[in-house]
């Protein structure tokens, strides 16, 4: 009990030496003063008394040093000595040191890269405050497919008004719009957003201002807020953009602000205010994604329970909107965006964790092998009076130096790796707001990893060495059967563990390759090799009638087919193999289980389907 108490206090004093040190100084001063007084009382002169007091006390600094040794585990001086010695030892074997550091660099670096992805994609992807409380509300059918992502306005308002679990609700929907500015024309993704949107998201604009409820009032001037990337690419980061006019689908609007880089709400280029009103004639045809922030302390379950009740009520009124088995789902925004990618990321993290473990095993094996070679040195140090703890400490400091080297290398590797990954990272399954970077949490993580690695690979060999030193010391030959057998066994098991871990990794990588090859060779039903597609959008007011559009499509097709080198040309509402509606098809007379699954795409000959003409690419 008292030993444990002492160990804890010593540990405390390693961390916080200041107070105890001041007390010690005060105590020793008092002691010297008392001594001096005594000597004076015995008739010595003041100067003489002071000198005598000093003599009787002995060296003040030595006393302090002794006290410090007893108070905490090691003094800074000791630590400095250990580090110096360890550095010299490592320098004497540059090959060993380099291999160990490179091994650890690879391990720590890869773990840091994937941790950075996890941190920036899963843990802190959004620049919006309280984003962990942000939820999506969608309606799913019996087989868990999305029935309605964006909700019609009346349904939206029912959920918003009747649920009390939410602090605030935001409705957004992106609509591709034709735009016209002084600089040119084109297409932009424009998000309708409820006027509280920017207050909800809590991000300040980079330039100008954001819109609020006043901007959505009837008769208010039409405004728009622009995304940073759009501003950079389309408007050359023109600082005078605020106040300029942009015509969206024929309506001129004033650009009132530009958002900072990571603001990507619904990946829109522009955000425009739009209030939701049940009494609007188009309310049933106006859809908004329902996103909300839970009240502080509120849970997903509570919100789900409330919405379930509202959904049942609505289903009673409009049974066609809620087919058998359909249900409303509350899901955190991050889960909604990341979905199954989360599993992929954690699997990757486990894989690089294994890699680090293998690296640690490797270094541990190297250290054990080296310990055999260093037996004599350690025996000599023990003979010279180094305690077992002292030797363990020395060896652990050596390991820590290796780990720090590996940690620094790992951070450099992570820096390069993260930058490379940021360019290669797929946007699917990753929030657009994500910014991969080597930030403080990642650095801290790398540091912690290095520290943990030191314990994993350094402590055991150190303890082994220190134990063997006793045996070797008593044995003149310096060779002891049991100790060596034990060490051999340990090294063999390490090799076994490494091989096992490697096989796990290799199997995983092999399976991944197989899936990838399968995906790369999947039969699309078409040969995409020599296929080129392009999309065409009509500005509002152009080619409004079916006949005009068909004429246009025919003209385009014929002129394309006339280009030398073009084998054939076709027009469709969606690019081949992608796009278009999905539906189950039953072939009459064939039992259901024998019907093959496949992709069936319907295309009207020589025509653009009416409903899609305005907005989908024709290729």
């Amino acid at each position: 009990m008292s030993a444990l108490r002492r160990a804890l206090l010593r540990l405390y004093h390693v961390v916080r030496p200041g107070r105890a040190e001041r007390q010690l100084t005060r105590e020793i001063e008092a002691h010297l003063a008392l001594l001096e007084e005594d000597f004076r009382r015995k008739g010595r002169s003041p100067a003489d008394a002071r000198a005598a007091a000093r003599r009787a006390f002995g060296g003040v600094e030595q006393a302090k040093e002794l006290y410090r040794d007893a108070r905490s585990f090691m003094t800074l001086d000791d630590l400095r000595r250990d580090i110096g010695y360890a550095a010299r030892t490592l320098r004497r074997t540059p090959g060993f040191t380099a291999v160990a550091i490179v091994t650890l660099t690879l391990g720590i670096g890869s773990v840091a890269v994937i941790y950075s992805v996890i941190h920036n994609v899963l843990l802190e992807p959004f620049p919006y405050p309280h984003s962990r409380r942000m939820v999506d509300v969608v309606v799913r059918d019996a087989s868990n497919n999305i029935l309605r992502g964006a909700l019609p306005v009346p349904e939206f308002l029912d959920y918003q008004e009747q649920a009390t679990a939410f602090e605030d609700v935001i409705g957004t929907n992106v609509e591709p719009m034709h735009f016209l500015t002084d600089a040119g024309a084109g297409r932009l993704n424009v998000a309708w957003m409820t006027p509280n949107g920017f207050a909800f998201l809590g991000v300040r604009p980079l330039l100008g201002r954001v819109f609020g409820p006043a901007d959505a009032a009837p008769g208010a001037p039409l405004v728009a807020v622009m995304k940073h990337r759009t501003w950079m690419t389309l408007f050359g980061a023109d600082p005078a953009i605020v106040g300029q006019s942009i015509t969206l689908n024929g309506e001129p609007r004033t650009i009132i602000g530009v958002m900072p880089p990571r603001f990507e709400w619904h990946v829109a280029d522009l955000w425009i205010p739009g209030s939701l009103n049940r009494t609007d004639s188009a309310a049933d045809q106006t859809f908004r994604w329902f996103q909300a922030r839970l009240k502080p302390g509120g849970t997903l379950k509570e919100a789900q329970a409330q919405l379930d009740v509202i959904a049942v009520r609505r289903a009673g009124e409009r049974p066609r909107d809620y087919p058998q088995g359909s249900f409303v789902q509350v899901i955190t925004v991050i889960d909604w965006v990341v979905g199954r990618f989360r599993g992929v990321l954690y699997t990757l993290f486990a894989a690089v964790g294994l890699l680090l473990l293998i690296a640690c095993c490797n270094v541990m094996n190297m250290l054990l092998a080296r310990a055999t070679a260093r037996e004599r040195e350690i025996a000599v140090r023990a003979a010279l009076g180094a305690s077992r703890g002292r030797i363990v400490r020395q060896l652990v400091v050596e390991s820590a130096l290796l780990a720090i080297g590996g940690g620094i290398g790992g951070c450099l590797l992570a820096y390069g790796g993260i930058n490379a990954l940021a360019r290669l990272m797929p946007r699917q399954g990753v929030p657009w707001e994500t910014e991969l970077r080597l930030d403080q949490p990642v650095l801290l993580f790398a540091l912690a990893t290095a520290a943990a690695a030191t314990l994993v690979f350094g402590l055991f060999p150190a303890l082994q060495s220190a134990r063997r030193e006793l045996v070797a010391g008593t044995n003149a030959g310096g060779r002891s059967g049991t100790a060596h057998r034990q060490q051999r066994r340990m090294r063999s098991s390490l090799v076994v563990a490494e091989v096992a871990l490697s096989i796990v990794l290799l199997l995983g990588a092999g399976l991944l390759m197989r899936s990838f090859l399968k995906l790369a060779t999947v039969d699309l039903g078409i040969d995409p090799g020599s296929l080129v597609t392009a999309g065409v959008w009509f500005p509002p007011g152009h080619l409004e009638s079916d006949a005009e559009r068909q004429r246009f499509a025919h003209a385009v097709r014929d002129r394309l087919a006339g280009i030398p080198g073009v084998e054939s040309a076709a027009v469709s509402t969606g690019a081949a193999a992608f796009g278009g509606m999905r539906t189950a098809v039953r072939v009459p007379g064939v039992p259901l289980e024998e019907q093959p699954s496949g992709i069936v795409q319907f295309a009207a000959r020589d025509s653009l389907a009416r409903s899609d003409c305005g907005s989908s690419p024709a290729g």
Partner: protein, 114 residues
């Protein structure tokens, strides 16, 4: 005071025992008081730099065997007084027992040798 040559190395661990015993018999003492007392008791010049006491004091305090507190001396100086705790008294009994055994063992050995 003893000159350097006369000072002999104290057996490891004995200083703790000595300090505990002194505190047990004398009641709370500051480090100087302890040192003075030890010098007084010793027949020979006490083989110790007074500063060495501090290592023993911190060890004992960390184990919870003694407890230090700042008080005024009779000459109205601030000094840290150490008092033995209940755990310290128990430990003292145990250590005394061990010491006795060790001494009798060593004595026996030495007598046999001579």
């Amino acid at each position: 005071m003893a000159s350097e040559a006369e000072r002999v190395e104290l057996l490891q661990g004995t200083l703790d025992l000595i300090v505990l015993r002194a505190l047990a018999t004398m009641g709370p003492q500051h480090a100087y008081g302890l040192a003075a007392r030890l010098e007084q008791v010793a027949d020979h010049p006490f083989p110790l730099n007074q500063g060495t006491l501090y290592a023993a004091l911190v060890r004992l305090e960390q184990r919870g065997w003694i407890k230090g507190s700042w008080q005024r001396t009779e000459t109205s100086r601030d000094a840290k007084y150490y008092a033995i705790s209940r755990a310290g008294t128990r430990a003292l009994n145990k250590q005394t027992e061990r010491w006795r055994r060790l001494v009798s063992f060593v004595d026996k050995l030495l007598l046999d040798e001579s």
